[in-house]
Structures are given as C-alpha cells and as structure tokens.
C-alpha cells in the first residue's frame, strides 16, 4: 500500500487534462468521450491530446483502447476530484472574503487550483467553516474526496407553466454570468416559464415581478430544480 499518489508529481498540464476528462465524463456525463472532444474542450489540437493521453495511460490515470473512447482510472478520478475541490473552495473564498463577483472567480481559480499543498486547501476549507456549495451553486467535494453531482436540470427543459428554483449556473463564461446578474437572476431565484416559443426556442420567464425573454443557449446554462 505504498500510496505514492499523494506525492502528486503531476504537471499543470497533466492536471488540466485529467480535470477536463472528468468533467466531460462525469459532470456533462457524455456517454463516450473521445480524443477530439477532449481536444475541443481544452482548446488544443487533437494531436496534443493524443500525445498527453498516451502519457497519462502509461502513468495509469487514463485507460482506452487504440481508436477507442477514454476513461479515467480510480487514481485519475481522485486527482480530478481534488482539483475540483480546490477550484471550488478558492472560488468560494474569492467571493466571500475578497469581494470578487461570481463572474471574476473562475479565471483566478483556474490558477489557484494547481497550487500544491494539502494543508493549504484543508485549512482554507476550515477557515470558511466547510462550505457546501461554490458561488455557482456546485457542490464542493470534501477532504475525503467524496464527490457528489448536484441533481439539476436545464431551465431549457421546462414546459410552459412550470415553476422552478435556480440552483446553479455554468461557470465557464464571464459574459454569461454577468448577463445573469444583470437581468436580476441569482441563486435561489424562483422562475416561472411563461412561454416556450417553438420558432427559435426562446423562452419567456418570470421572476421577481420581472419578465424576460431568454434564448435557448442561455437557458441551457441555467440549472434549476422543479418546484411543487
């Protein structure tokens, strides 16, 4: 049981690939994740991905057959979850203590998540009194590496007349997040779907006495829980 995985000798790049693969596999639960999808997600060429995947396979973080789909080993998942834990804890810290808005935190957390010190992250967790969710509503994995996916559906999946609560947003785009705040939405907002327009998939929603029309693309990035 000489668990050397604690020494964590991974480079920033290796970490980024593992986290991306995890996010595609588990969070977006794409049935099959191939080389090119991963390349796309990371904005690198398929050749770069192929190369890195080869390395991660010899290091036992990734498994796949030639020309086959990619999967993570338990070791690979564990690394990814730790990165997500760090990322979300830092985002929470930046918002709650350093006056960052939710659209500003992701970029900086992308850097901070690669800092190597388990004491740092566990103490940060303790300092904030073990927060459960990050500023975008996502669940923060705990120190034991337990990972839970928030049960959520896209706002775009609702039918006319349905009522829901905003529980999370995709944190990838600064512009999207600014947009969400600007129209007055936030975590916990109650939203009613007034109308679903078939023509362009836009939907009309009501919240806090406001009525807004949003696009399908927008609604795909807003995650909700149905009410009643």
């Amino acid at each position: 049981m000489t668990n050397k995985s604690n020494l964590n000798n991974l480079t920033k790049s290796e970490e980024d690939y593992l986290k991306a693969l995890f996010q595609l596999l588990v969070e977006d639960d794409s049935e099959k994740v191939g080389n090119n999808l991963l390349a796309d997600y990371l904005n690198v060429s398929p050749a770069s991905t192929n190369n890195m995947v080869k390395k991660l396979k010899t290091k036992n973080y990734v498994v796949s057959e030639k020309y086959g789909k990619l999967d993570l080993t338990e070791q690979g998942k564990s690394i990814a979850v730790r990165l997500i834990r760090k990322h979300r804890l830092w985002e929470t810290f930046l918002c709650k203590y350093l006056n960052f808005s939710w659209d500003e935190v992701h970029e900086v957390a992308e850097q901070l998540e690669h800092i190597k010190s388990s004491k740092l992250i566990d103490e940060l967790d303790r300092f904030m009194d073990f927060p459960e969710k990050d500023p975008h509503g996502e669940i923060i994995p705990n120190a034991d590496g337990e990972y839970a996916v928030l049960p959520k559906i896209m706002l775009s999946s609702l039918a006319e007349g349905e009522v829901c609560k905003l529980i999370a947003v995709d944190d990838g785009s600064v512009n999207f997040l600014k947009y969400v705040s600007e129209i007055g939405l936030a975590l916990s907002s109650e939203i009613k779907v007034i109308e679903v327009r078939e023509f362009d998939n836009s939907i009309r929603i009501q919240f806090n006495d406001t009525i807004e029309t949003v696009t399908r693309k927008f609604a795909d990035n807003v995650f909700v829980k149905k009410l009643v």
Copy 2:
C-alpha cells in the same frame, strides 16, 4: 505612456530569475552580481542562467555588458518588487488565518506569488487590513510598488555585552526556522550577547531567562536592532 508592463506576460521562470536578481542586488546588497552567483542562488547551471539573462535583456528587464555584471532596469525591479509583495502577503495570510507556522509558509508562497491577478493580491491586502510586516519580520511592499529595506544587522555582528531585539529572520531554511522557535526565540525577543568565542565564532546569548550557545551560521541568519 502605453504601459504594457501591466499585462505581465512573464513566465514563472522569468519571474523567478528577476526576483532572485533583485534579492541579490538589493536585499543582500552584493556589490556585483555575476552570472554564476545568480546561477548558484537559483540552483541552476551557469548555462541556464546565461540563457535566461539573454532573454531578459532583450525584454528590457536586465542590463549587462558581455562578461560584465548584471543589473535590473526599473521595469525589472518593478516586477521583482511586485513578486516580493505577493510572496510576503501570502506568507502573512497563511500564518495569520490558516494556522501555518513560520517555517511552513515560504514553500507555498513560492507557488502563490506567481498567481496572476492584481485584484487578488490587493483584496488580500485589504482583507488583512494592510499588514506592514511578514511572519519573518520583513517589510511588505505596498500596492504602489514602494519597497523599503528593513534597517537590520546580523546578530553575529554584535560584541559581548550588547543587547538587541530580534526583528527579522532569514526565511530560506525550514530547519533554521524550526530551530529558532524550538529554542524559544521569536520576533521581538530581547537578546543579550553574553560571550563571543573566538575559537569557533560561536556566541552565547541570553533571552527570556534562557542561555543558549549558537553558531556563527545561526547568528548570521538572525537580524536584530541594537537596543540603547
């Protein structure tokens, strides 16, 4: 006045070299800093240093003549001071809020100092209410890049009978810092030099009703202000 130096495109390595050069020039105020001294300080080969210095010269951070000594431009100094500010603010944060001891902070701060976000560091500064000194007693440069050297002398420079106050310690060695704490010394400790032994340069010191013998090497890393 299109100040592009704010964009700060420097790599971690480039930053490390600039900070090291600044520390040799200004903090240790070595009269002349050459290629090999810098290489030694950074634990890299003279060839690597030569290479990097060449690059930093074309980028206008460093000046030197062929076979001559190295110096920083104003731009180079400014980068270095910002790194030192970040380093010391993070060390302070780790000590004051995250239960790190003063021997644990340096290594993590070496990583954190390279995080690129001026908002992050200025907000961290504000959050801690603009601390003036880091856990090792050194002055933290302010947001305007003003850098001040703490007026300090080495404990080893004192004569028998002299009394002083410990105001700073070298933060480079974990073992040294642990040693300092273990024998009961800390910032602000009052120390009296009881005896200076010519044979091996060891000195006998008294503080808090304790008497200890310390080596010259130890006393070189303890910085004090003479009292009375």
